[in-house]
Each structure stands twice: as C-alpha cells, then as structure tokens.
Subunit: 406 residues, 2 copies
C-alpha cells in the first residue's frame, strides 16, 4: 500500500464523461489498497473564458481579483470529481487551496508556495477518503486567494507529494512521457524511461511541454519520484528520479532546442574593469534575463561582447544596449533574432571526454556554423542559425545513438 | 454619509455589460460619500448550469460538494465586479463567505447563518474601498463551504447590514417593489411605499417573489431598514421597516393568495381526547406541514376534522390519513386540491373592528363560498374554490380601497 498523488490537467477533465473516466482510473489504484490524493486543473477552456471576461471588465485586470476569478475553475472540477467518486461507491472530499493551507507569498497570478499543512489531508486519508485537491491555487497568510501561474497544478501536485511524503507523484498529460527530442522534428525521437531531476531541469524546452519546470525543482529538493504519463493509456511514462548508477551508461539523455533567443553584439568595447557591469546592469534592471555571454578579445585594448536575451525582449534590450554603447565608447551594436540554441543534456557526460568534440564535429559535418558555445556540468549548448534547427537536432540525435532501437 | 448594503441578483449581473452598469450605479452612491458594501449573486444561468453538471455526476449530488460547486458562481461575479469598480478609478475588494467569516450550521444547500465577523469589512471600508461580498455562501466552523438555499443572497445582504449596523439595505430586483396584490391578476394593484416587517412576513406569497422571507425575519430582529427596488429604474421602491404610527391609517396593506393548498376532511371522528394527536402526529412525522385546522362538531359524539396541507404533499398526506381514519373508527376521508387560500394583511386591523365582516361580505356578494377561515393578529385567511381566485383578489382589493388612486 502506497500514498500516491495524481495530477490530471484540464483536457483530462474537460467534461462530465472525462471526469468520470478519470475517477474510475483513480479508483483502480484505490482498490489496490493505495491512499489516493488527486490534484485537478480547471476544465479545458474555462481559464480562457475567465481571462476573456476579465479583459472585458478592466484594461489590465487586477491581479488579486484575477486570482479570485481563476481559482473558481478548479473549484468546479474538484466538486464534480468528488461527486463522481461517491457515485461509484467510494468516499471522497474536495479541498480548496485555503482549506489545505497551501500558503504562498503575495505575488498574485504567479505566487510561490511557502508551506503546506498536510494534517487535514492525512485525516481524510485515514478515514478512507479519496482526497481531491484544487490545483493551481493557494492562499496568502492574510487569506487572500492566489494562483501559482503557468503549470501551477503540477506544482501543487509535487508540493503536496513532498508535504505528504508520498511514495510517488503521477503527472497525467496528453503525451506519454518525455522524449529524447521533439518528435515533431525528429521521427526517431523516443520516450525516455528514466531521467534525473537535473537532466529534466536542463531539458527545459522538452520538459516544459509535459511538466512545469518549477515542479521539477520541488521534486528534486524533496526527492519526490515523479511519473509523467499519458491520461489515455496504461503504459509506463517517464520517471523523473534521483540519479542512480545504472543511469550513467547513457552518455546523452536528450537533445533540445530553444528558439526564443536573440543575439546582441557590442563591438570594440574598451577592455577595462567594470565594463561588463556597465553593459549588463541596465539590462537586468529592466527585468531582462541574459543567457549566454561570450567575450572575444581583439588586440590588447578592445573586446567584442556577445550575449543572448529572450527574443521577446530583443527590442527593449537593443534600445538599452545602444544607449550604454554610446556612453562607454564602444564602436557599435549589432544583433540578430534568426538564431536557435541547440543543447545536448546528460549526466553521463560528466565522466566522458570527447562529448563536446562529437557535438562540434556533427554540426560541422552538416555545414552548420557555431556562433556561440556554453557548457554546464551536464549540458552543452550551441547557438546556430535558426534555419538549421531541424537538421542539427536530427544529426545530434543520431550521433549520440538516441535513435529508436529499430 | 451612510453605510449602505446593496444586493443585486443574477439577472442584474448576467454579463459584463450589466456588471459595469451596476458598478456605475453603486459608485453613484459612493461618490455621494457613502460607505458601500455590495452583495452579488451568480450570473443568471450559472446555477442551472452547475446543477445540470452535478446531475450528470451523481444521481443525488452530495450536498457538501454541491455547495463547493455552487459557491464558485458568486466567486466569479464578485471578482469581475471588483475589476469593474477599479477600472472606473475607485478601489474595491472582493470577499468570499469564508473570508467574511459568515459562519453557518452544517446544513449544506440550506445552511443558516450563526455569526458574521464584520471586522474585515470595516477595515476595508475605512480604507475607502467598495467591499464586494459573494452572496448565498457561508462556511462551517470546520471551514467547509455552505450555501444558504433559495433567496440566499438576500439573506447575506440583510445579515451583513445587521452585522455592520448599516443605515439601510437595498435589495435590487427586476420589479419595482412590493405590490398590494399580484399585478398579474389585478390591474389596479399598486406599489406599497412602506410596509412593516410583520406584514411582509404575512404577505409571503407576494414577498417571496421579490424578497426572501428568511431575510425579512433577520431584518425584523435587527431592525434593518430594507429597500426593495428595481435595478432598472431610479424610483423609490418599497421600504420594509418597523411599525410607525402614521402607518396605521391604512387598514389593509395587501391581498395575497396561495394556490399550493389542498384540503383533507376526516368525517365523523369520535370526539374523544387524543383524537387530534392520532390524526396529526403521523403527518408531521412524515415532514408534512399542516396549515389551517377546523373542527366542526356534529351532534354530541362525532366531529368532522378539516385541515389543509401543501398541495405538493397531498397524495402522501391522504395515504397517511386514510390509514389513521380506519384505526380510530372515523367514517371516511375526503379531500380536494382545487382550493386557494386568499388572505388580507395589515397592521391596521388590530384596532379596527369589522374588517373580517367586510371580507366575508365582499366574498359573499360575489357568490363565493368560504370553506375555511383562519385569523392572526394582522391577517385573515379564507379558503375558497380555486376558480374564484382572481375574482376574490380583485373584489377584496377594491373593497379595502387598495385600488390605485386613479
């Protein structure tokens, strides 16, 4: 007998029939003797409906009231779900964020969880009930309703699993797991059976589609085994777990790419202490995240400074940098938005030399020029021209033997 | 400067445009320097949608979960309303039943308010905010969500007005006040300007259409002046208030009728002590309310016992009474559902003889036979054949000078 937390998203509970199907599935685990905690999102479409209503009321909807509005969506699904379980002859109870005391900070629409009181849930589980918790929502210490932002229900589920010291946390979604790369651009992408928390964090662009990255951080901190799997099949999905020795046989776990990148180069920057601060402080003050930074010294007193920012912040960043460049006496500023960052990720690369070389050679063999390189302990990223995205991903997937066994 | 509680029902907040119109109206009072507390129902149609969803989940939807589901409707309107007020340049805050600590008993779907903590609202009012409270909902001491049943938002508004010691409670509805009788069957019905709590309680069938009777009881207990008025006009509606001397000039305040009545007669009941108990105990044990009771003695040892029950309970009541009649040796049981109870109500009748005579004469002059009579301090009710309903109401309305001045 285990304590299992299961999260189902909006498409899994989009209508009464689907809610019943999910209830039946959950009861399958209950009948096996497990204690079940279910975390639900709002019915698919509800959040959009609420956002639309809010936009009709206020040019920029008030964040506190937005949270009151949005959180009503999960309230509907948990009540309906509890009814479905009862109709099937089992006991159930729905609980909202404030009842579970999912206490968050006051950052409305993107609040962070500070604490969870697991006692109420433990009591209901001890009484044999299926506990149905509204995902995505919390409450401030002043008892104002908050929501957790994008992927918030994943975060609720993993945080509850941590607070309850659950045996596992199942994240049900509309795909059957995490893939070695994007199946949409690489036919031979295959499902990953096991992946470490760190790899999952690095595989952001793959992971974000099936599992919110914030919840991976919580899972890692509290060592919650997370099982990402399909609502529509009984197959095993991808287990996101702590690193185990046997996992090291794999050099590379996945290939990922991020198109939300733009490059900015400040040419002929005087090579003096404090120059980097002068360039980057105004950018970060504007709330723009700088990702990769490369400095090429040319001659003795001049250097070129190249870095990437999110493509969505490109125009704002350029305006800031052009102002700075004039102030510090740089020659000029250039930039480009037609770039992509391609990365290979794997804990195996820690103990294996030559991984980087294989990556560079593979790209070179396809005639792809590498514009920037950045590495971490378990990741190597290269910035290349955007038009080579698919070619680069497929070549790297093949070069690192990730193509499906067939 | 006054403290005003205003309640708007579902049709008044049925869509974003209507919500904005109501917000504008409330701000009119705010701009005059009043402290404003607004109580809102769910958008028209939402409650039906939720009931329909619940019925798809469970044959008899669980009452606790029903309340979780239903209460989400008011949550949506208060958030949207607060946004609308903010867009118009004023500060506002939405509050749910559990935030206001509207503590109720545990009778889900028809809970009764035990206490309200007015402190939170007072604080927000002191800060200049329009306070927007979700109607219809409360919370148990265990922090389970409850709803207050039919007319629950009226109850919330009047109870809040009582807790806040408000100067008045405006109940906005789709009619412009309480009428001397049903305008649908009497053209000369006219709006009542002022009515006492007691009269309003007796005028149940008129009042129920515009103001939930439970809220009148609370208003009476805490002496809250209630103003029933139209959402669609600026005209004065009907003030429900304590009795004042000048009101006594009016003999009769209104004529009302109730068609949900059925008559049952037990013929030739042995006239012995305990007979009434034998007849009525099984009926009340079945949860059926007996309204009027009349006993006609015939001869020395026999009596006829006639009483009324709600028409909706007629068949169940007949079955019970037939069983009892056989046991106590009565001659037989007869009954009818084609009856109506017509009543005249008014505090003025306390000090005026002859009111009853006028009523009986008026009906008699129209050839209407009176089957049963019951009186209270401020009401006289007659049971007559249902087909005479309209004729009786119009005649009494005229006889007591209630026809419009014209």
């Amino acid at each position: 007998m285990a304590l299992i937390v299961q999260k189902f998203g909006g498409t899994s509970v989009a209508n009464p029939e689907k809610i019943k199907a999910v209830a039946k599935r959950v009861l399958g685990y209950k009948k096996q003797g497990n204690d079940m905690v279910v975390v639900l999102s709002a019915m698919a479409g509800e959040t959009n409906r609420f956002v639309d209503l809010a936009n009709q009321m206020q040019a920029i909807p008030d964040p506190r009231e937005m949270d009151v509005l949005l959180s009503s969506g999960e309230q509907v699904t948990v009540a309906l779900f509890a009814m479905a379980v009862k109709e099937m002859g089992y006991d159930a109870v729905s609980l909202l964020g404030d009842q579970v005391k999912i206490v968050t900070d006051r950052m409305h629409t993107k609040a962070r969880i500070k604490s969870i009181d697991a006692e109420l849930i433990r009591g209901h589980l001890a009484a044999g009930k299926v506990v149905v918790v509204a995902g995505f929502q919390g409450v401030t210490e002043e008892r104002d309703i908050t929501t957790l932002g994008r992927g918030g229900s994943d975060t609720t589920a993993v945080a509850l699993a941590a607070a309850l010291n659950a045996d596992q946390c199942d994240i049900f979604t509309d795909v059957d797991g995490v893939y070695t790369t994007d199946p949409n651009i690489c036919d031979s992408a295959c499902k990953i059976d096991r992946i470490t928390y760190d790899e999952m964090l690095e595989l952001a662009s793959l992971g974000a589609k099936v599992l919110d990255i914030r919840s991976v951080g919580i899972a890692k901190r509290y060592k919650v085994p997370v099982h990402v799997r399909s609502t529509f099949s009984e197959n095993e999905g991808t287990w996101v777990v702590e690193e185990k020795k046997k996992m090291e046989s794999m050099l590379i776990t996945g290939v990922t790419y991020n198109k939300n990148e733009a490059r900015i180069t400040v040419a002929k920057v005087p090579d003096q202490p404090g120059t980097a601060t002068k360039i980057f402080k105004p950018i970060s003050d504007a709330g723009i995240n700088v990702d990769m930074i490369i400095q090429n010294t040319r001659g003795s007193e001049m250097t070129d400074m190249t870095f990437t920012v999110p493509r969505t912040d490109y125009k704002r960043a350029m305006a800031i940098v052009e102002k700075t460049a004039a102030e510090i006496g740089a020659e000029g500023v250039s930039g480009a938005t037609d770039i992509v960052k391609v990365s290979i990720v794997g804990v195996g690369m820690r103990n294996n030399a030559g991984i980087a070389t294989t990556m560079f050679e593979t790209l070179s063999n396809e005639g792809i020029n590498i514009m920037m390189i950045a590495t971490s302990e378990i990741k190597i990223s290269c910035v290349i021209e955007e038009k080579y995205t698919e070619l680069a991903v497929r070549s790297l997937h093949k070069a690192f033997n990730l193509d499906a066994a067939a």
